[in-house]
């Protein structure tokens, strides 16, 4: 199988702090768990891939294409979507509008067409709304009913679902999840993980998954990469990694 994502000596330097240091990582179509202690560069690694930060050194290749220099907006268009650790939906917009934002890069309509060609505009909008509601209903039917509600009024668990749905709606090939279960109780965590498993089975989408809950990692991740101080210290299946001495001392504890 072709390599989906490959980083070569990926490095970022924040004024002397090497947040990510020469990371060589390769992934195919799989669910990759990314674990490590706080400050080990997990989120920075995702920020580098999703184009929010520009790498100081090294390369990122996605589906055989060098994407190191691409802007965040282009990264989304070529099929990498992400969620954030703290829920970052647009609070002043409705559920549906947040979902439609996820489709921005998939829409072809030009700004003058939205003014002078209402027919095309409505046609495209209709298709997009149907698609958004379809993806939402996959997570929670109730959210479809609440499509015109402001995000302000939606509980945290549903906000997480909306954020994942917003990432999925543009049919990405790779989904970057930054602690999707942070702040949720065990039942809610379970329900999100089940949703993600279903999505993985149904669409075969690849995921990179940052997580602190080892139970979640062991059920969903095909492979685990452990970061510490910006470097990969171990990778392999969860069972292999959890036996590794260095990982135990750096993160898991004995």
């Amino acid at each position: 199988m072709d390599t989906l994502l490959k980083t070569k000596d990926l490095t970022i330097n924040f004024g002397g702090l090497l947040a990510v240091n020469k990371v060589n990582c390769e992934m195919n179509n799989e669910v990759l768990g990314l674990i490590g202690p706080n400050g080990s560069g997990k989120t920075t690694f995702l920020n580098l891939i999703s184009g929010i930060y520009n790498a100081t050194d090294g390369e990122i290749e996605f589906q055989g294409r060098n994407i190191t220099k691409l802007q965040a907006s282009d990264i989304r268009s070529i099929g990498i979507a992400r969620t954030f650790q703290t829920n970052r939906l647009c609070l002043k917009l409705t559920v549906l509008d947040n979902m439609l934002l996820g489709l921005f890069s998939k829409q072809q309509i030009r700004w003058w067409e939205t003014i002078f060609n209402q027919k095309k505009h409505h046609l495209e909008l209709r298709v997009n709304i149907d698609k958004c509601l379809h993806v939402l209903s996959y997570f929670n039917e109730e959210l479809v009913e609440q499509k015109y509600e402001l995000i302000d009024t939606i509980p945290l668990i549903d906000r997480r679902r909306i954020e994942i749905a917003r990432a999925l709606v543009s049919d990405p090939a790779l989904l970057l999840l930054d602690e999707p279960t942070a702040g949720l109780n065990p039942q809610e965590t379970h329900s999100i993980v089940e949703d993600l498993k279903k999505i993985r089975e149904k669409t075969g989408i690849s995921m990179i998954f940052i997580e602190h809950d080892m139970g979640v990692i062991s059920t969903i991740a095909d492979r685990v990469v452990v970061l510490n101080a910006g470097q990969i210290i171990a990778e392999g299946s969860f069972a292999e990694v959890s036996k590794n001495e260095e990982v135990r001392s750096a993160y898991l504890g004995s």
Partner: protein, 388 residues
């Protein structure tokens, strides 16, 4: 269709057009009577909106208009056409209407930055001025038709919007506002110190528009009624204003309006949704500037004299107030705000030196009572695309 919807449709058929007529009657009062009547209209309108929102009347009113869109718009347009004719006796009232329409266009353009994108631009008057000066120079110096002047104004302001939009790419919030204040100041200083642009004397003798070989400065005659020339300009302004409102509304419901809102809330999230921040910001600035440019062109050819005092920093502040008072990111609200503030501004002339003081007091009171503006932004619903 549910009972409630049928009910809305049946009663709305009469209530919505009636509401439009009452609104025009109130506006007529506000324009023709003294300051206190104008203030009373503003107070009643604000109170109606506040209590109406609490009781859900405002939402019902919106629904009624939505369900009976065609008849409401028809009544509105008819009232709009007859309104200036009813006021034909006093050309000063008509003048207020033209100016209100012109400022409404600038405020609509400004709303793309302040309302949609949350970037407070303190230079709308500079854009307005660039439009006016371009149009005036083209027709005075080169003797071209004022319509060509307007086209030139559109092209120049679109370009200027892009140029002035560049600071917005690097700065945001207060820093961006500071840059726009600099732009505004530079514009005034540059014009005052350039003899070619009339310097401190301004540009006099700007020709009027003409349509079908007839100058818009000619008085008209309709069934024996003498119509002052301002009526021609009112129709021109209203026509363009309605076009611009339609453009603004269409952009608001498009993916671009949505993207601007996303940029306002969180630029990083917007970028990760595939929104190109550079393109979208420059689009907002250049479209907004074009609105100001069109307004500037009409202003120049209407007043036939322009000077920098028409486009100074105070004018920018007033334009920002129009957007804030009317309601951010709601084109209809912004237009209402522009009309009300223009009328109040004119009525305050009785206070002479204390005019700006009174103006500020009124603004503060209205904004304390209703911080979100008279007609605030509404959540997007997509009625034309409902499933089923």
């Amino acid at each position: 269709m549910t009972d409630r919807q049928t009910h809305l449709q049946n009663t709305g058929k009469f209530v919505a057009p009636l509401g439009v007529l009452i609104f025009f009657a109130a506006m007529a009062l506000a324009i023709t009577m003294n300051l206190w009547t104008t203030l009373a209209v503003v107070v009643v309108l604000t109170a109606l909106l506040i209590f109406g929102e609490k009781r859900g009347f405002v939402e019902t009113a919106y629904k009624m208009v939505e369900k009976n869109y065609k008849i409401t718009v028809a009544v509105f347009v008819a009232a709009l056409l007859l309104f200036p004719i009813a006021l034909r006796g006093n050309s000063y009232f008509l003048h207020i209407l033209v100016i209100a329409g012109i400022y409404a266009m600038v405020a609509l353009g400004l709303n793309f930055q302040i309302g949609s994108m949350g970037q407070v631009n303190f230079a709308p008057a500079a854009m307005f001025g660039i439009g006016a000066y371009t149009s005036a120079m083209v027709s005075v110096h080169y003797g071209a038709s004022p319509w060509l002047g307007m086209i030139a104004a559109v092209i120049v302001t679109a370009g200027m919007g892009v140029v002035f939009g560049f600071p917005a790419l690097k700065t945001r919030g207060f820093y961006f506002s500071l840059v726009t204040i600099a732009v505004q100041t530079i514009f005034v200083l540059l014009v005052v110190n350039t003899d070619w642009l009339g310097g401190p004397n301004g540009i006099p003798g700007i020709p009027a528009f003409s349509l079908f070989g007839r100058s818009l400065k000619q008085t008209g005659n309709l069934f024996g009624m003498l119509l002052p020339y301002q009526i021609n300009y009112i129709y021109l302004t209203f026509f363009l204003l309605i076009l611009l409102i339609i453009v603004a509304r269409r952009l608001y419901t498009s993916r671009f309006g949505l993207a601007w809102n996303a940029i306002e809330e969180d630029e990083i999230v917007a970028a990760t949704q595939g929104i190109n921040l550079t393109k979208l910001k420059l689009l907002s600035f250049s479209i907004g500037s074009v609105f100001a440019g069109i307004a500037g062109s009409i202003y120049a050819h209407y007043t036939s004299f322009i000077g920098t005092e028409d486009f100074d920093f105070n004018k920018s502040l007033i334009l920002i107030c129009m957007v804030l008072l009317g309601g951010m990111d709601n084109p209809v609200g912004v237009t209402l705000g522009a009309v009300l503030l223009t009328v109040i501004d004119e009525k305050l002339r009785v206070f002479a030196d204390y005019r700006m003081l009174m103006y500020s007091v009124i603004l503060i009171v209205v904004l304390v009572v209703r911080a979100q503006g008279l007609l605030p932004k509404r959540n997007r619903t997509y009625p034309g695309t409902e499933e089923g």
